[in-house]
Point group: C2
């Protein structure tokens, strides 16, 4: 508390990210990072850019990175927006499109940064409960609203929606922006980027942190109609002219270009996820169907918080959410390498 704080600062309920342990842990499966490093071509490009030119500002528009992404997705560069991580982009989206008379809507169980953005920009919101099976039922979203946002696949459940269902929502919901947060889309969920040219009210966000193995470099992107992208650019240019540094721009370009590395690591993660799901089933866990690089699971009998703490004592960090009560028994487990998943299962067996 301080008399110097603006009113909004007092009201904030900041987001709490998953722990980034400073010591070594046996298995870090709590923040959905990729178990594989970035492409060697990414590391090489950073080496090349690591020179005296760091004294110079980066390209404020990141044009080369934009055109590389545009080429990859076969869309226009002016349908692309870049940010210092997709969280920054989400913040701009909330400020730029969601401050309306009607409340925005999002699932009751979802990325917990959304309500933090709402408090930052004084945006009213309504949480729509997931159905009994933890699905987002898009029928429930056909109500007057100031905007719609949900992750696809949803987090922390991992459950994906189909493109057909999402397109139907976008078609009906023409009066506000529909934002599909595709942070985890590359692990077996269908992207709706292909709908961006078709609808003026669709924005898609993606991240380089997960499927491109670059959480440490901070890079995210958004795809949308050029009027929406222009809105984001107006905010960005009233906030920070140079959000993406020189090394991140070159890293992003090579990460997009190295499709082999992307495909290989993604396929291995999807395979390790199937292995983990099978093993957990044998151990009486109930796991939600995942289209992400994590799974959301609970044991039929044992308490989630106790398992979480015992894993921690064994040097294994997963994510456990204290609220809401409905997910208290669940653990969110990041998919690691096959070897890490084997090690995880053997430790879990000992605990259970």
């Amino acid at each position: 508390m301080s008399k110097y704080w603006s009113e909004v600062v007092h009201k904030l309920t900041p987001y709490t990210p998953g722990e980034q342990p400073k010591g070594n842990v046996l298995l870090k499966l709590n923040t959905n990072e990729n178990p594989y490093g970035p492409s060697q071509k990414v590391l090489d490009s950073i080496s090349i850019a690591n020179n005296n030119k760091l004294r110079l500002y980066p390209d404020p528009e990141s044009d080369l990175l934009k055109s590389t992404i545009a080429n990859f997705y076969n869309i226009s560069s002016n349908s692309i927006f870049l940010g210092n991580g997709s969280d920054e982009i989400l913040a701009f989206i909330f400020q730029g499109f969601f401050k309306n008379k009607l409340p925005i809507i999002f699932p009751d169980i979802t990325y917990s940064f959304y309500p933090a953005y709402c408090s930052l920009y004084d945006i009213s919101y309504t949480r729509i409960p997931l159905d009994k099976k933890f699905n987002i039922d898009l029928e429930d979203y056909l109500i007057p609203n100031g905007g719609i946002i949900f992750p696809n696949p949803n987090a922390p459940t991992g459950i994906p929606k189909t493109l057909v269902d999402i397109e139907n929502l976008i078609k009906i919901n023409q009066d506000s922006v529909v934002v599909i947060d595709e942070a985890y889309v590359d692990f077996g969920t269908e992207s709706v980027i292909k709908l961006v040219n078709k609808y003026k009210n669709l924005l898609v966000t993606q991240s380089f942190s997960k499927s491109r193995s670059l959480a440490g470099i901070r890079l995210g992107c958004a795809f949308g109609n050029k009027n929406l992208i222009e809105g984001l650019n107006r905010i960005k240019n009233s906030f920070n002219s140079y959000p993406i540094d020189r090394l991140a721009q070159t890293a992003g370009i090579e990460a997009i270009k190295d499709e082999n590395h992307f495909n290989e690591t993604r396929d291995k993660i999807i395979k390790a996820r199937a292995f983990l799901e099978k093993e957990l089933l044998l151990m009486d866990f109930e796991t939600l169907p995942s289209g992400a690089n994590f799974i959301f699971t609970k044991h039929k009998l044992k308490d989630g918080a106790i398992i979480f703490n015992k894993l921690r004592e064994s040097g294994v960090i997963v994510r456990h959410f204290e609220r809401p009560a409905r997910i208290f028994q669940y653990l969110r487990i990041t998919i690691g390498t096959q070897e890490e998943m084997k090690k995880f299962i053997s430790i879990l067996k000992r605990i259970i």
Copy 2:
């Protein structure tokens, strides 16, 4: 224009940064970058950090970088805040401390991002005219206000204020936050960081872009009473958990530690500035006294816009501001190396 934009987006008047030319130019003297590259120790530390760990999120609190800076300035870590460039920090400051009933005040000729932040956060402001000699007269700031901000030295004039004058203002102005934007302070202006422990209403911002030669890496910091820093942290954690990437954190640490590189390059720039000032005087230019790594100058007879364009045709980019009318005749010239300044003078002589 788009029906999907929130009201604020329509009202924005985004900041226009100095041009970042994509082709090669002979002399780039328009955005106050350092003519010397960063410390070799910075480049080495980036090489070391350029590895598979880029798959992992950075430390969200940048604790090691904070403690390195704290040690350097002999203050506490919880008096320090870091951002993705000092522009991001300024944005948070405007949102966090300046949204008050009374308008904030800043000079009429100053960093032109300030009014852009005001439009982004719907903050009212009053511009206080510089005096006849382009000085900030702090007597004029002793009026009821919702906050005060100015750069020291001021930009684009380069004229510094003394610590005594600023302390006097802070002492009298206890009801709102006084922000001293020290982006250019290291080039011969006295910092007021030493006052941070003494006053609860003082915030100081600094940048790694100029004196630390790291414009390409995006890093800025703020210094203030822990209650003000807590306010900034509340905003940051409602906006983006991980603003500073892994490579920027290590680069920042080494940039602070290598005092020799810092002192040597700074001294060379100050010497080159004195050389440029002397040469310009001989050519009938009137140059304002500078405590920055740029000078603000006009020719006694020749038109500023014409000189600007002729320099441009010769491959030399400096900065020229079309508004306000009072500075239309002036050019802002970034200080380069001694050799660059010699080359600049020889081209300028030809033009004049």
